[in-house]
């Protein structure tokens, strides 16, 4: 029932807003919440409880309990008591079979009790075992919260923002605003985080308090304080990190100081019927009356341990509610309290031997300081038995608590943990439907620590996260076990402080892909892109990778190898440094020449490979694998931090594009795009020359991974598309085509060239990877030398060899090598070569099989296929084409 307009009300009666609730239109006003509008329209049942499907009405109106959780616009578990009304919203009850009014599952409240004690699913529904999947399905459907629409598709944007301030104040009530103002006047940057729609806290529930709150907030803003509302601090981490949920924005606030002014959480009293519809906390009543001008009942009884209940009684009287009785526990605590109800609604309350009729029962239990965030930050909490509350102590140096959150709550009475009873369910945990009987049952079963008991009964594990049940459960535990509350302790406070959508924690998606300067050209040419580490690379440009490979043999191919790592090693000791890093030697490499190198770890394991070109006496240009650039760069700098040699490094991987021009016509093409000498004499195999290609300064490397005459051109990335386009244009009549990674793999396999990480693993060494020629043991030392020597000394056990498949069977990469019926190695690479007309590959086999013509079996499907060892390159073994 709406009251007449009040000067302090928050609704704007000139702006009506409508939404639908379970198919019917509900009208409210701007400033209402969905719950207040529903309540004003006569709705009293807001949910059905988790296990017993009991009718539940508004309890806290503060977003703490789970009583008002509904599904709004398809989103389940929305607390409508704090959700602003919005036009056209679709609101529905949840966790019902039928309706909120008539839920068929309410039968569990009548019949389920004996079958559903705490932990019943460990005892009752376990035989026969094979039916557990069915039991589980039934139980999950019977109890729970809202349901996600499996077929619902919703796009929602979440953002993350980083903020740095001197002081963050959690809680925008009087204490918080005053603390913020104080800090701002000292010249500090301040953010106030208030979970309500506006700053003011409990002041707003007070008829005269609203104006005070607004004035205080205005002063704070004028002093430069930033007030965020609604915004909820979801944790309090070390070094002043306070993540805040502000709508769909996650603010990661880093503050020098944190002030927690979160006020109190009103605690329910524990007595039979304390969950009946019409039983409310004092703040809920005051908000209904003062915020939204709603009369919450006709005839009320107020039970209170402090002045909060008295203020609620005053507000009720102002609103025309008949206050039948006010029971102030400070004067007299009744021995027996029991709410009486009819069809789930309160109709009266039994106080000792009397029954007082009412349709509204206000229960004001202990004013528990909101300490959870402080506990997350590492504060201790101590039970103050004289006031029946836990108070935070030993706060970390950067954290301060002010106001009620610090324990400044006056001297409330301390109600009994359970207010005597004639029977019926006395709820301790409203969210999880855990009653006094349930908790005592668990204690009797031996779950005698609060952490164990919590996990067994699930008390404090529901949506309220212990806000309304933690204190009462511990006090009940104490009274049952005879231990005191401090001995029992509290359960661990963990973030998030309040449930948040997973999307908020995930934030916006990121996929930091590296793309070469030729990326769009590959897509323009029909390339199918794939991931190689963090790089996007073209797999191939058409349906037949074999044909792409053959075009390199017959005519001319271009491949983008810009992803290769490129590191400059520069300085007077650059050559000597490389000699220490690599097993082979580079200090004797002539200027303008290239040498292949493999980097090994201290343990002699193969780490990476590439080429080293000597640019001048003190400058070397090192290439690495596409995914190894950063690791190799770190390796070089790390070792020089040990050796302190006169050498510097620069990772220029992204600075340079690189294109491999390969095929019999490659020289012809190069002569069209450059006036430099690309003859075999001018640029011999393994030469490095500074040239100009189409007007672009370029380092040309005469090397060949793919087995044909070829040139690897390294030039500034920004000229990538220009050079590529020029090569394609001027090579068109020569049959130039781009080729991707897959044809490259075929081509390199034809040459028996190893791919580090494909044909090697973390245990591979140079000797057993068939590269003994790289090891220069006469060097005084190099990284991994002793390990390589150990391998030589103990003898070779394995060998990486080439093989052919005589019958054309194609084993899988990673496929088992089988010798004498035992797994004895693996296939590392395998492809069908159209050029050679056979299936070829590389495999790790027992060393004794590493002879030309040797045989071993490989599992292909269910059978074993015989393979023949082939040592050396399959294609052009003498390298005549490479060196032409």
């Amino acid at each position: 029932m709406r009251l007449e307009p009040q000067p302090h009300e928050r609704i704007d009666r000139a702006r009506s807003v409508t939404f639908t609730f379970q198919g019917r239109i509900v009208e409210g006003f701007e400033g209402d919440t969905l719950a207040s509008a529903l309540f004003a329209s006569g709705q009293r049942i807001f949910s059905r409880s988790f296990k017993y499907h009991r009718r539940r009405g508004l309890l806290c109106c503060s977003g703490h309990c789970a009583n008002c959780q509904m599904t709004v616009d398809g989103i389940p578990n929305v607390r409508v008591c704090t959700t602003p009304i919005r036009q056209g919203a679709s609101v529905k009850g949840q966790n019902v079979v039928g309706s909120l009014q008539r839920d068929l599952m309410a039968v569990t409240d009548k019949l389920g009790g004996p079958f559903t004690p705490p932990g019943f699913y460990y005892k009752t529904f376990i035989r026969p075992r094979k039916l557990w999947p069915l039991y589980e399905k039934v139980l999950r459907n019977a109890a729970g919260l809202g349901k996600l629409d499996k077929h619902g598709a919703r796009e929602e944007r979440f953002d993350v923002e980083y903020r740095h301030v001197d002081t963050v104040v959690v809680g925008g009530g009087q204490a918080g605003l005053e603390a913020a103002l104080d800090a701002a006047r000292q010249g500090r940057s301040v953010i106030v985080v208030e979970e309500g729609p506006e700053a003011g806290g409990s002041l707003l529930a007070d008829r005269e308090g609203a104006a005070v709150a607004r004035e205080l907030a205005a002063q704070a803003r004028q002093a430069g304080v930033e007030i965020l509302a609604p915004a909820i601090a979801i944790g309090l981490f070390e070094q002043g990190l306070v993540p805040v949920a502000h709508g769909n924005l996650l603010l990661k606030i880093r503050a020098h100081d944190v002030v927690v002014a979160g006020g109190i959480v009103e605690q329910p009293l524990v007595f039979p019927g304390n969950d009946l519809v019409g039983v409310m906390l004092p703040d809920a009543v005051r908000r209904l009356v003062n915020y939204w001008s709603i009369r919450p009942g006709e005839r009320a009884v107020v039970l209170t341990v402090d002045d909060r209940g008295l203020r609620a009684a005053e507000d009720l009287e102002e609103a025309g509610v008949q206050v039948a009785e006010v029971v102030d526990f400070r004067r007299h605590a009744p021995g027996i309290v029991s709410a009486v109800g009819h069809k789930g609604f309160v109709t009266g309350v039994q106080l000792d031997l009397r029954t007082v009729k009412c349709d509204l029962l206000v229960m004001g239990g202990s004013p528990q300081p909101n300490y959870k965030l402080l506990a997350q930050a590492g504060a201790r909490v101590e039970f103050d038995a004289s006031r029946g509350i836990f108070v935070p102590t030993d706060l970390p140096a950067y954290v301060q608590a002010v106001g009620a959150a610090a324990g400044d709550v006056g001297d409330p009475a301390v109600p009994e943990p359970v207010l005597g009873s004639y029977g019926g369910k006395s709820f301790v945990c409203f969210c999880e439907d855990q009653s006094v009987k349930d908790l005592r049952y668990a204690i009797a079963e031996g779950f005698d620590s609060i952490e164990l008991s919590k996990r067994y009964t699930t008390v404090t594990m529901g949506p309220c996260q212990g806000r309304l049940c933690h204190v009462n459960s511990i006090r009940l535990f104490a009274s049952t076990t005879g231990l005191d509350e401090n001995t029992i302790g509290t359960t661990t406070a963990r973030p998030p402080h309040t449930p948040v959508p997973l999307g908020l924690l995930a934030g916006p998606p990121h996929e930091p892909a590296k793309r070469t300067s030729l990326h769009h050209r590959h897509k323009d040419l029909g390339g199918t892109m794939m991931w190689t580490g963090a790089w996007r690379r073209p797999h191939s440009y058409g349906p037949n990778a074999g044909e792409e490979a053959q075009n390199v043999h017959r005519a001319l191919g271009l491949i983008d190898v810009s992803t290769l790592g490129k590191i400059l090693v520069v300085g007077p000791e650059a050559g000597a440094f490389l000699d220490r890093i690599y097993p082979n030697r580079f200090s004797d490499l002539k200027v303008g020449r290239i040498r292949y190198g493999v980097i090994t770890s201290d343990g002699g394991r193969i780490m990476d490979d590439g080429t080293v070109a000597r640019l001048d006496e003190e400058q070397f240009y090192v290439t690495t694998t596409s995914t190894g650039a950063d690791a190799v760069y770190q390796w070089l700098t790390w070792w020089n931090a040990v050796w302190h040699m006169n050498v510097q490094f620069s990772n220029v991987t992204g600075a340079l594009a690189a294109v491999n021009v390969a095929g019999p016509h490659s020289r012809t093409l190069m002569e069209r795009v450059s006036s430099d000498d690309f003859s075999n004499e001018g640029l011999s195999y393994l030469d490095a020359r500074h040239v100009t290609v189409a007007g672009v300064p370029t380092l040309a490397l005469r090397i060949g991974f793919v087995g044909e005459l070829g040139y690897e051109l390294h030039f500034p990335s920004p000229h990538g598309e220009f050079v590529w386009d020029t090569l394609l244009e001027l090579g068109a009549d020569l049959g130039v085509r781009p080729f991707g990674l897959e044809p490259q793999r075929i081509l390199r396999l034809e040459k028996g060239h190893v791919i580090i990480g494909q044909d090697t693993d973390s245990e591979s060494n140079l000797l057993e990877a068939a590269m003994p020629w790289l090891v220069k043991s006469d060097k005084p030392d190099f990284v991994g030398k002793w390990a390589v020597e150990q391998v030589a000394e103990r003898g070779l056990r394995w060998m990486l060899v080439g093989f052919e498949s005589p019958r054309g069977a194609m084993p899988l990469e990673g496929g088992q090598v089988v010798v004498d019926g035992r797994s004895s190695g693996r296939v590392t690479s395998v492809r069908r070569s159209a050029e050679l007309g056979k299936v070829i590959g590389l495999a790790v086999v027992p060393a004794e099989l590493a002879v030309d013509g040797g045989r071993f079996d490989v599992r292909v499907g269910d059978s074993l296929e015989s393979m023949v060892v082939h040592l050396g390159a399959f294609f052009d073994p003498a390298g005549e084409k490479l060196k032409a």
Partner: protein
Amino acid sequence: MSVLDFLSPSLAAEAGGFHPLARSSMERRFREAGATFEERDGWLVPVTVPGEVEHLAAAGVADLSHLTKLEVRPAPASAGAGVVTYTVSPRRGLLVFTAGLADVVKEHVAGAPFVLDVTAQHCIIAIVGPEAPTVIRRLTHLHQFPSSGDVAHITAHVLKRDGGYWIVFPQEYGHYLYDVVVDRAAPFGGGPVGVDALGVVE
């Protein structure tokens, strides 16, 4: 001629009928946004973009990758007027300047033990406008500038420039970071702008 000339896009020149043009790794994205390009100092530069006036009123996102960049070791104190000098560490400095100042700057750093042209290595995104600080806060935890660290999950340098910010980052992330920055600017009405909309870049 230096053996490291192959790193310098500024040394590309017309020859033999070839007219080399340098492109930023964000060029395609700006083209898709409808940008108008001009050749400047051997680069195709996005000079105007439709809607840039509105975008600048919130957060304009511009591509300044065509600016010349040198890495100098050790870090120089300054390199003269018109040169943006960022001390990455005492041992490394980054100089950013327009191509027209190249000769002056090279003379200034001629005595440095190590000078490397890193123009091609880095892209620069400029974010300018009243919402630029908010956009930056949605990209990185860095809050004191200039600074280096994680920006949208890549490592970058962030400088305060021209009433806004420059993000200097590896060019291979150009496409990716453009998408992220424009996405962060969009809710405020921000978006891509041409370099001419920023005025003189100093």
